[in-house]
């Protein structure tokens, strides 16, 4: 095992469904949860690392994102435009369900940059939308009675009634 440089080492990850993914250790560094596990095991990781909360679809997307971003960043030319285009396509390719599932996975694996990007994407989706839309999007059950909701809006009049009446 000696003589293999750090960037060439491969880490194996196992999803909930049992699918195995071979990942370069340089990519695995961005999965902070995984990296912490590796660090704790004194770098001696030969068997696949189980990820009990991560599904194949999500891990595959996350690795796709990371691989591409590493590729963009390692180029000599500034690939900002290409990266922006990739990010836009990446966001568009997912349904709301997939987007939400990906946030959970990215949060569990602690992938900072991707998580920030996904949070921004979700914010873009819900910005300037009605309360009903946001509830639908998140799948939130409204547990306020109409009276309770009315009371809440009145108490916070400064945030709700700020629009011009005419």
């Amino acid at each position: 095992m000696s003589g293999i440089s750090d960037t060439e080492r491969m880490i194996t990850l196992k999803t909930v469904e049992g699918t195995l993914f071979d990942v370069k250790s340089s990519i695995a560094k961005d999965l902070k949860t995984v990296q912490a596990f590796i660090d704790d095991s004194d770098d001696d990781v030969t068997s696949p690392i189980p990820l009990p909360n991560v599904f194949t679809r999500e891990l595959s997307r996350i690795l796709d994102y990371l691989n591409n971003h590493h590729r963009f960043r390692s180029g000599i030319e500034k690939a900002d435009e290409e990266m922006a285009r990739y990010d836009a396509e990446f966001a568009k390719s997912m349904s709301h369900e997939e987007l939400k599932a990906l946030i959970l996975a990215a949060n569990y694996l602690n992938v900072k940059d991707l998580l920030e990007f996904l949070n921004q994407t979700v914010a873009d989706v819900i910005q300037n939308k009605s309360v009903e839309f946001v509830r639908n999007f998140f799948g939130i059950e409204n547990d306020y009675t109409p009276e309770e909701e009315e009371k809440l809006r009145n108490e916070n009049e400064w945030a709700f009634n700020g629009v011009e009446q005419d």
Binding site: K100, I103, A123, S130, F138, E150, V163, E164
Partner: protein, 470 residues
């Protein structure tokens, strides 16, 4: 309630099942707070009605964004409502929370100066990382608090305020600095020492329309600085011997940009890395007494950036005295791209002689001729750059004057590796009765030193004709 206020139609595709589980809400509040931090603050707050679980989630936001001209659901807040809103959020609900980003954009209304000052003061005490304030009015806040803000990473201050600068100030995390309309003063008690501003990780420094009224000179320490821009900043010239100077220590500086009347002394300590420079000299026609020192000041500045590869040298409202600037020019040994807006043929000739490897020359407004001088004789010597480097010559604002035609003829006849010459006629020719066809034919007929060269003539109506190998 909300359905009656709904003015937005849902345009996103709705393909998910209606009984989707609310998995998002299982996330910790801090994560949800991060999502809400990307929303305009008023919308983030309104999530409190989503469900009982969401009543306090918005208080985890780390970013506040207040803009008085941003419509919320298609409507703009009235001034009193906006003020009330900001007060409630900033001073009541989030008084003890951690805010890392704060943006205050006031462009719609005029506010009570004390009110805005209070908002800014509150924020300065909160370990803020990104601060953006835009307001055309005057505000006042503690300079002491400001200079103690060591968590700042990005600062965008476009507001009329006065900062009392201490003898030594350091912003250890600041990467981006952009100030506009700020007045910098200092205690006059210590005369000899320079004020030191230390920015260990700063990448971009931009200052516009600021007043540098410190009694001492200012020394900026920015070892990682890549871009420096100073525009329309003035110092007090009441005391000649106590002239304000700005010394910049930026060994990694790549881009340098200056716009002003050169009264402020700028000293670049180690400017060997500067690659791109833009120098715009703007002088009020009233300030005739400044003209004498202008040449000397310009020479001082240009000497410091003589190793640049790209130079834009523009003059506004500077009378023909600009010639003083060209009497002692440094040699621009690495210059490949030069852009000018106003220059006499004599000055241009001097510049060409001092730019041995010039590749591209752009004249935005043609070239003028000092009527007190004789016609320019180019025959004396050919600039070195003509022999092996000048490839592109763009001549905008061609007025069909004799001296311009001489210049064109000279370049065509002597630039040995010229690839393209683009001549664009000045707009006023549209109303003249000059026969442009004749002018064009005349130019095309001039002997070309480089047979490969393409001469493109862009007429007043926008049409282009080329002459040259295709």
């Amino acid at each position: 309630m909300d359905s009656s206020n709904q003015t937005q139609k849902i345009v996103i595709k709705e393909t998910e099942v209606t009984d989707s589980k609310d998995i998002i809400s299982t996330l910790h509040e801090s994560i949800l707070g991060q999502i809400l931090s990307f929303l305009p603050t008023i919308e983030a707050i309104q999530t409190c009605v989503l469900s009982q679980r969401w009543i306090h989630v918005w208080k985890s936001i780390t970013s506040l964004c207040f803009s008085d001209s941003l419509p919320c659901y298609g409507k703009i807040l009235k001034k009193e409502q906006f003020v009330n809103f900001v007060n409630k959020v900033l001073l009541h609900h989030l008084a003890n929370s951690s805010i890392t980003n704060f943006s205050l954009c006031l462009t719609r209304y005029r506010y009570d100066s004390k009110q805005v000052s209070e908002w800014i003061s509150t924020v300065l005490d909160r370990r803020i990382q990104k601060l953006h304030i835009q307001y055309a009015g005057k505000v006042q806040f503690s300079s002491h608090s400001f200079f103690k803000c060591d968590t700042l990473v990005q600062l965008d201050l476009k507001v009329r305020c006065t900062l009392n600068v201490p003898i030594y100030a350091c912003f250890p995390n600041l990467q981006n600095l952009n100030i506009s309309g700020v007045r910098l003063e200092s205690d006059s008690s210590i005369f000899s020492e320079d004020i030191v501003l230390n920015f260990p990780v700063l990448k971009v420094f931009e200052a516009r329309a600021c007043e540098w009224l410190t009694m001492q000179g200012i020394s900026i320490q920015a070892p990682l600085l890549e871009k420096f821009s100073l525009a329309l900043c003035y110092s007090s010239i009441s005391n000649e011997s106590c002239k304000s100077s700005i010394k910049i220590f930026a060994p990694c500086l790549k881009e340098f940009s200056y716009e002003g009347d050169l009264e402020l002394d700028i000293i670049l300590l180690d400017s060997s890395s500067v690659c791109d420079a833009s120098v715009v000299i703007v002088v009020d026609e009233d300030k005739k007494d400044m003209m004498e020192s202008l040449g000397f000041q310009a020479h001082k500045l240009l000497s410091q950036i003589h190793q640049v590869e790209l130079l834009k040298l523009l003059f506004y409202k500077v009378l023909m005295h600009s010639n003083d600037i060209f009497t002692h020019l440094p040699t621009f040994g690495r210059l490949t791209y030069l852009q000018l807006n106003e220059v006499t043929d004599e000055a241009l000739s001097k510049l060409l002689h001092n730019s041995p490897i010039l590749n591209t020359l752009v004249l935005l407004n043609g070239v003028s001729h000092d009527s007190n001088k004789d016609a320019m004789s180019y025959a004396s010597s050919v600039p070195h750059c003509f022999l092996s480097s000048l490839r592109v010559f763009q001549f905008n604002g061609f007025n069909v004057h004799e001296h311009e035609i001489s210049l064109v003829k000279f370049v065509m006849g002597n630039a040995a590796v010229l690839e393209r010459m683009i001549i664009s006629a000045a707009f006023w020719l549209r109303y003249s009765d000059i026969d442009m066809e004749k002018v064009k034919d005349n130019i095309f007929s001039f002997p070309k030193c480089c047979s490969r060269a393409i001469i493109e003539f862009s007429d007043v109506n926008g049409s282009s004709t080329c002459s040259g190998p295709l």
